[in-house]
Every structure is written in structure tokens, then in C-alpha cells.
């Protein structure tokens, strides 16, 4: 059986550990932001439950990362929640990017290409998906 080339760079096990650490960091940060944002979101005195029975789409302000970051700085609870969501979505994307780097360090050209393709599909969805 042909083994993947791995004379250079990190071993598969080191790669696994790096991936695990990154995933843990990403979801912990996202969950913390969402809990903090959620706390303020629910403390809002005039808060009425949103109408989820009829679809009207979320505010377009939330689709712009610049506006979400500005909102977060101003402690706008919905923006903090949205930033948590964006971070959560970014976690698997960063995982794939990490794989591109690790495969490159292992000089595994085939899998650099495969993981780079997956990364491009993900970035296309994130930046061009709405069009």
C-alpha cells in the first residue's frame, strides 16, 4: 500500500492536535461572545419577542462585517451576537486553511490542492454567496 509522503514537516498526529486546539479556541470564543451578547440582548427593557412566524430576513446591517464590528464596539447586543455567529462559521474555514498549511509542510502537493479547493469553495460562499 502506498503511503502518503511525510518525510518533512509535522506528523499526522501533530496535525490532529493542532486542529483540535484550533477548533476548541474557535468555538470557545464564539460561545463566550454569544453568551455575553445574549445577556445584554435579553436585558433590553423594551424587548419584545421577534416575529419569527413570518419570514422577512435579518437586517442588512448584519450582513456587513464592518457594521457588525462597529456595532460590537458600541456594545450593540445584536452585533455582538452576530460576531459570535460569524466566528463560529469561521472556525471550520480556519480548520481547512490550517490543513492547507500542514499539507504544504508535509510536501503533500495532492492534498494541498484538495484542501485549497475546499477553502476556495468556503470563501466563495462567505464572500460571494449572497449574489
Amino acid at each position: 500500500m502506498q503511503q502518503p509522503p511525510q518525510h518533512h514537516g509535522p506528523t499526522d498526529m501533530q496535525m490532529d492536535a493542532a486542529i483540535a486546539n484550533m477548533l476548541r479556541f474557535g468555538i470557545s470564543l464564539a460561545a463566550t461572545l454569544m453568551i455575553l451578547g445574549g445577556f445584554y440582548y435579553l436585558r433590553h427593557p423594551t424587548m419584545q419577542p421577534a416575529d419569527y412566524a413570518h419570514f422577512h430576513g435579518t437586517s442588512t446591517d448584519l450582513h456587513n462585517l464592518g457594521k457588525v464590528l462597529t456595532g460590537t464596539r458600541l456594545a450593540d447586543s445584536t452585533s455582538v451576537l452576530e460576531l459570535g455567529i460569524v466566528l463560529l462559521i469561521a472556525t471550520p474555514v480556519a480548520r481547512v486553511a490550517l490543513c492547507v498549511v500542514d499539507f504544504a509542510r508535509q510536501r503533500d502537493k495532492l492534498y494541498v490542492a484538495v484542501s485549497f479547493f475546499v477553502l476556495m469553495v468556503l470563501l466563495y460562499s462567505l464572500f460571494r454567496g449572497g449574489r
Binding site: A20, G38, Y41, T58, I85, L88, I89, R131
Partner: protein
Amino acid sequence: MTAETFTALIFLTSLLAGLLGALTGLGGGVIIVPMLALVFKVDLRYAIGASLISVIATSSGSAVAYVRQGLSNVRIGMFLEVATTLGALLGAYLTLKISTHWIAIIFGCVLMYSAASSFRKRREHPGTIAPDRMATSLHLSGSYTENGVRHDYVARRVPLGFGIMFGAGTLSGLLGIGSGAVKVLAMDMAMRLPFKVSTTTSNFMIGVTAAASAGVYLARGYIDPGLALPVMLGVLAGSLLGSKLLVKAPVATLRIVFSVVILALGAEMIFSGATGRL
């Protein structure tokens, strides 16, 4: 109902969905979407958006444990993610085109299939099919150690597995679920991977697949932060709790009970979709 009560109720429901999802191995998404739509009368598009976020959280959370055990195969996962991410993009675009009635009907069918598949006994397939040339040239092989014994494996029928994975990705993007049942079908039945490897690799792939449709959902306003908050935190907490209880719980009995519940939810989704109530 105040926003706080509503959020608390959704959180508790999501906690239960995550718990059942982990105990039955079906995932939280297939349970939370029909619950939100049928019980809380949430529009199907908001329900799917919130569920997708919880799917990403659960997959990343449980992958931490699996990846450390060295059971999931990063190369096989990455290769099949080419199929699932492209499928997920297609599925997310289909969600924008298809009416919610049809989405409800398709969702119901997937629920019924998932319930039926949880009854099917999984067994290891001995290597009767020759590994194909693609598996060798793409390095779709590996080994894992269990009880001190080393098991080597090679993927079989790679094109068939790749094709089923594209379908799994499309369903995931269309319905906001992880479609773990279909992913396992591709890796167990088609590619004949040992199921320790297929289960953990599938779980690892779910987050990346879901991220591929999340961009489209986000831009189209399907992901409402106020709804995603209790759903994501609830499902994540429930599934972490579920994976801890898995060792002690009477899993076989639970699986039968919840499969019946899921069958009923599936029938209700099909009925609601067909009569135009969803």
C-alpha cells in the same frame, strides 16, 4: 410571552434536541427544525438557519475529542469535503428557489429515512471488494489502533462514495442539518470504511459542509441572531451532555423510543408541507 420566556423555552427544547441527537446518533438538527416549525410556529427558513449554526457548533465541539483519539482520517475527510461543500452550495441555492412546502416534504422524508436507518444494524464489511485505483492514488487509506491491535483499511468504491457525499451535502445545505445518516451511508456501505473511522470522520466533515451553506444563508437573512443564540447554545450543551451519558444510558431502548418520535415528526412535516401549512 416575553422575549426571555421565549428564549428560555427555545433553549430547553434545543437542549433536549441536542441530547436526543447525541444519544441516537442522528444529530440535533433533524430534531430541532421540526420542533421549531411545528411547535413554536417559527418560519421554516429561520428554523433552518438557526439549526445550521447549531450543527457547526456541535460538529466542531465533538471533533475536538475525536481528532485527539486519532480515529478520524483527515485525508479521506478532506477529499470527500470537495463533494459535500459543492453539494452544500447547491443545496443553499435550492433553498432560495424551492417553496417551503416542498422543503417541509423533503425534510419529512429525510426524517423518516434517518429513523429507519437507526434501526438498521451496522456491521463491519469484510474486504470482499478490491480497493480501487483511485483509493490508492489518492492515499485514501489509514490505520487505527484498538485494544492494542492495529487495523489497516483502504477505501473502496470511491466514485460511488463521492457521489453519495455530494447528495449528503445538498441535503445539508437545503435543510440546515448535518445529514450524518447519509454521510455514514456513503462511508460505511459504499466505501466500506471501519465504522469507528466513518463515524468520526463524518462528524469532522459536518462543520465544514455546514460552513459552505452558511455564507449563503447569512447573506439572505436566514440566520437570526436572537433565535440562533438559544438554539446554538442549547443544542451544543445537550449534545455534550449526551455524549457523556452515552456510556451509561440504555441506548438501545432510547433509540427505539426516539425513532418512533422522529417517524411521527417526519409524517407531520410531510402532512404540513402537503397541505400548505408550512
